[in-house]
């Protein structure tokens, strides 16, 4: 019976609110009338009877309110009217409302944006059906000793391992392989103009196994893999960005590295492929053609199907329903151990045993190790910002409610229940949080794209259900914090019936003041932590920016090439010779060379080379070397100083002379006493080694942040195979102005040849610490917000107090207090608060700095400069925010102040 009646009564009450009100009014009125009649009958005059009836009945309005509470649907109805009332009250104070909502929005928006990044990178499941069944196959011990590897050592598998594991049908409903066609982007062409695109080769069941949807056409079949069919699937983002969602794209031909493929499908929106942090543009089935070798590797070294010891394929599996990772591993491991040896013979017993592992396909594969800590630190930073913002809004609410005491007293006297007033205040807080949350969501929407671009990710950070839940949770947390303010106000309303004029002075109780001081001191401490963090990150960035590279990065243009029509080393060599010759004749080009791994791009060759026929003893960590294949005049073009000996010459290259240069660190490590010149480096056999003809200064190779390592520069024409090379051009003018003329030359040489990722060497090195730059900028931004919030909060509170204390100050001055004393009185309060804040904040900041140690570069966590700057910052904020109210207090005219009282 119960709830249906309740519901019915609630519905009638809400729908027929006017009628119910009238009925109630009439019923009570009838009662009083009847009573009056009865009293008159007993001989009382009409006036007296009316008076007595009213007294006997009591307060009509109060009982009406109680009746309303007793009938159903009351809470809904009053909630509606509370919301209306709240909106009206907030509209009456637009300044307060705007500041409160903006402050909340800033806090919630920053948190939502950073959380959306964390969600994408670390938490989010792939946007595919049953993502919990998807696992990445990984190699915690890297690929076996002696294998040849391209790609990340812990995620690349050999073709035989893939073929064996995919046969385990009881474990996997599908095991999919994918591998890029190029180390960066591959050359593609739709029309005349060659361009670049991210192209992946995938197994035939890639789309069916993942369960990817298609907006146009369809994906590949196993037959496509077996036949290495010339068909292609485009990503939705590429179809949108490059082809403007042209519906007639299906059936068109795209030339990938000069090979024609027919487009058969466009994958669904939101599917970016499996490449960590990158959006794949085009997928094609695994190809056996040597000119479409994985990673753009030279087929003379490895081919996909002909080199069993080449570990280059990434694998993602879909587990059979109900199969756990542990069960899967017990079946997969024996197969893996057996097939891992194919092409390698026996394993070195001392080398670490190859190990297979399954990892949940969550977030962005491989990105967790890079971004895990930084993102958590960012989360902590925005958490601090939110705490400061909440503090400000809570203080604002407290002050506002204190100022409304007279209103509350009046309303209680008129019959409003204390609970009703509290409910109304809570509704106001709720409205503020709702407004702030919505606006914050908007901020996050706008900033998440910028954040993704800053982070150098091609994948957007979507605001999905996880993020919505997160934002909702922190909004509720804020609402709870702000709920405390009205409760304080409501309990402080004086009881009693007299409408007492709210006194102008001394309303803030001592207890209230202490709470306010604690909040402000807490905010300052949090702000100090943020400033120290920001200072450390900015100083790290400065380190990156000012670190000498050992080469001249300015005035050098670099771009990648992949000569599609050159298949043999002879042809490639000819191509690069011709290209360099043409480049040197271009107006503005001072000198030109080629290099295998573009400096600053993160790529490097790592190996242990024999010196004078003997491999140095020691682990890879101790004697590991880096190498690069370079063309003529490399050191001249890049401005790397040659300390002894000479540069590699054009004649060296054309004559295939086995010559090499080494760096200073190499000499220090391997020739501590003698001269390296004339010694041999390379293979163990003399015919495979090169003569050292020069010693160059140390220069940065993979990134700005790297430590110097022993380095060998080989003549690129003698390496045994020539890879796709990057071209370096030195100019005295603006390097980027060379791009159009270079592009023309390339097209004359081969119409399929794009200029790959052309940029200045400076920009390339800048890219190598883009993460540090991103975090420094974000931390600075958060620090700035914190400073703004703390200073406005402090200023607002002090200004409010001073205005409340104006009569008291006037009295003091009338009694002979000096202006300096009054000034000091106000300043002292802020200084005490900041002293407390520093006492708490400094150790906390140091603790925080220790946690972010891994993000610092060239700066210790205890870096005194960062701490000094942060302290100075806090002090400046405090003084700036206190000075205006303090001066206003000091300039109080005693006569005016006293008259005011």
């Amino acid at each position: 019976m119960g709830w249906i009646t309740h519901l019915k009564s609630a519905v009638t009450n809400i729908l027929g609110r006017g009628r119910v009100e009238n009925d109630m009014q009439e019923e009570l009125q009838r009662h009083i009338e009847s009573r009056v009649e009865d009293l008159q009958r007993s001989g009382v005059t009409r006036d007296e009877a009316t008076r007595r009836a009213r007294i006997e009945f009591g307060s009509v309005e109060q009982f009406k309110e109680e009746c309303r509470e007793e009938r159903g649907g009351f809470w809904l109805e009053t909630f509606g009217s509370d919301v209306r009332f709240g909106l009206r009250m907030l509209r009456k104070t637009p300044g307060f409302t705007a500041i409160a909502i903006l402050t909340i929005a800033l806090g919630i928006g920053a948190n939502t944006a950073v959380f959306s990044a964390m969600n994408t990178v670390l938490l989010r499941s792939l946007p595919l059906p049953h993502p919990e069944q998807l696992v990445h196959l990984t190699l915690p011990n890297d690929q076996p000793w002696g294998a040849s590897n391209t790609g990340d050592g812990d995620t690349s598998f050999s073709e035989p391992v893939f073929e064996a594991l995919r046969k385990e049908k009881t474990v996997f409903s599908g095991l999919m392989a994918y591998v890029p066609l190029s180390e960066s982007k591959a050359a593609v062409r739709w029309d005349e103009e060659p361009e670049e695109a991210e192209v992946d080769m995938v197994s035939g069941d890639f789309f069916t196994g993942l369960g990817a949807h298609f907006v146009r056409g369809h994906g590949f079949s196993m037959q496509d893999e077996v036949n290495h069919a010339p068909v292609a699937v485009l990503s939705y983002a590429y179809w949108t960005g490059r082809l403007a969602r042209n519906p007639s794209t299906i059936g068109r031909t795209i030339y990938v590295k000069g090979v024609p493929f027919t487009v058969i499908g466009v994958a669904g929106d939101g599917f970016f492929g499996m490449e960590p942090g990158f959006s794949t543009d085009v997928w094609v089935p695994l190809q056996s053609r040597t000119d479409l070798n994985p990673w753009g590797n030279s087929p003379t070294v490895n081919t996909l199907y002909g080199s069993p010891k080449w570990w280059c394929l990434r694998l993602i599996g879909r587990l059979q329903p109900g199969v756990t990772k542990t069960e899967a591993m017990t079946k997969l491991d024996p197969v893996f151990q057996q097939t891992a040896l194919i092409g390698l013979g026996t394993l070195d017993p001392k080398a670490p045993k190859p190990m297979l592992a399954l990892a949940d396909a969550k977030g962005i594969e491989g990105a967790d190790s890079i971004y895990d800590q930084p993102i958590k630190i960012l989360m902590a930073m925005v958490g601090l910002v939110l705490a400061i913002a909440c503090g400000n809004v809570a203080m604002l609410l407290l002050a506002r409610n204190a100022a409304r005491e007279r209103e509350f007293t009046l309303r209680i006297t008129l019959g409003a229940g204390r609970r009703r007033i509290l409910a109304q205040l809570l509704t106001e807080s709720f409205l503020l949080v709702a407004g702030g949350g919505l606006l914050g969501w908007l901020f996050a929407r706008l900033s998440s794209e910028a954040l993704s671009a800053w982070a150098g990710m091609e994948v957007p950070f979507p605001l999905d259900a996880n993020v919505l839940l997160f934002t909702g949770t922190i909004s509720v947390a804020c609402a709870v914090v702000f709920g405390i303010a009205p409760i304080r106000a409501a309990t402080r309303i004086p009881s009693g019936l007299g409408v007492k004029a709210a006194s102008t002075a001394g309303t803030a109780t001592n207890k209230g003041r202490w709470a306010g001081r604690l909040v402000i001191a807490g905010q300052m401490a949090l702000c100090l932590m943020l400033l120290v963090g920001a200072g450390l990150l900015v100083r790290s960035l400065r380190q990156y920016e000012t670190l000498p590279l050992g080469l001249r990065a300015d005035g050098v243009l670099v771009f990648g090439t992949s000569p599609l029509n050159a298949h043999t080393d002879k042809q490639k060599e000819l191509f690069y010779q011709t290209l360099l010759a043409r480049m040197r004749t271009l107006p503005g080009v001072e000198s030109a060379t080629v290099v295998e791994n573009r400096p600053g791009s993160g790529w490097s060759n790592n190996d242990i080379f024999a010196i004078d026929g003997a491999v140095p003893n020691g682990s890879f960590k101790d004697v590991g070397m880096r190498a690069n294949d370079v063309g003529p005049d490399f050191f001249h073009v890049l401005g790397v100083p040659i300390l002894r000996g000479r540069d590699i010459s054009e004649a060296d290259c054309q004559g295939h002379r086995r010559v090499a240069l080494v760096n200073e660190t190499f000499v220090k490590r391997f020739f501590p006493n003698g001269d390296a010149l004339g010694h041999a480096v390379g293979g163990e056999k003399p015919e495979n080694s090169s003569t050292i003809i020069g010693v160059a200064g140390d220069s940065k190779y993979t990134s700005v942040g790297e430590k110097p390592k022993p380095m060998v520069y080989f003549n690129y024409s003698t390496g045994g195979s020539i890879s796709d090379m990057h071209v370096e051009l030195h100019t005295n003018g603006d390097p980027e102005s060379l791009i159009p003329s270079v592009r023309m030359v390339l097209r004359e040489l081969d119409p399929n040849l794009p200029m790959q990722k052309p940029m200045t060497q400076r920009a390339q090195f800048d890219e190598s610490y883009s993460q540090a730059r991103l975090f420094a900028r974000l931390a600075m931004f958060f620090g700035l917000i914190a400073v703004l919030l703390v200073s406005t909060g402090l200023y607002g509170t002090l200004a409010y107090r001073v205005s409340k204390r104006t009569p008291e100050i006037g009295l003091r001055m009338a009694m002979g207090a000096q202006r300096m004393q009054v000034l000091w009185m106000v300043l002292r309060e802020s200084l005490i608060m900041s002293a407390v804040a520093v006492a708490v904040g400094l150790p906390s900041a140091f603790g925080g700095a220790l946690l972010m140690r891994s993000m610092l570069f060239g700066v210790m966590p205890g870096d005194w400069r960062s701490f000094a700057i942060a302290l100075a910052g806090i002090l400046m904020v405090v003084l700036a925010a206190s000075m205006i109210p303090a001066r206003r207090a000091a300039s109080v005219d005693p006569m005016v102040a006293l008259r005011y009282e």
Binding site: H6, E37, F57, E66, E70
Partner: protein, 113 residues
């Protein structure tokens, strides 16, 4: 004015249910009947009657309908629902048990212990 209404908590509801059980009544009638059957020993605070009536309607123990009073005025009449009758029986039994227990406790003499 508070002292008059110092009925034990819950007793007002029981009084109303009992009064209405003797025949449908409007609010003022409920008041009069309670006065009458209690021999004016129990005085109900007049205004407080209405929140109690609203509460009993919401709980489904009473139903209300507009009708015409003895002096030909429009008035809202209350009567017991089936649930109201059941509740009244139950509360009556509870009350009588409590009253009996209380009176036997209070009637105890020193010698009887």
């Amino acid at each position: 004015m508070g002292e008059q209404a110092q009925l034990l908590p819950g007793t007002l509801d029981l009084l109303i249910l009992k009064a209405v059980s003797l025949g449908p009544l409007h609010g003022y009638g409920v008041l009069l009947r309670i006065e009458q059957i209690s021999g004016k020993a129990l005085l109900v605070e007049q205004g407080a009657l209405y929140p109690a009536l609203f509460r009993l309607v919401r709980q489904g123990l009473l139903k209300a309908s507009w009708g015409t009073s003895e002096n030909n005025r429009r008035a809202k009449f209350y009567e017991l629902t089936a649930a109201g009758k059941k509740r009244l029986r139950q509360e009556q039994e509870d009350w009588q048990r409590l009253a009996a227990a209380m009176s036997s406790v209070l009637a105890a003499e020193p010698g009887e212990v």
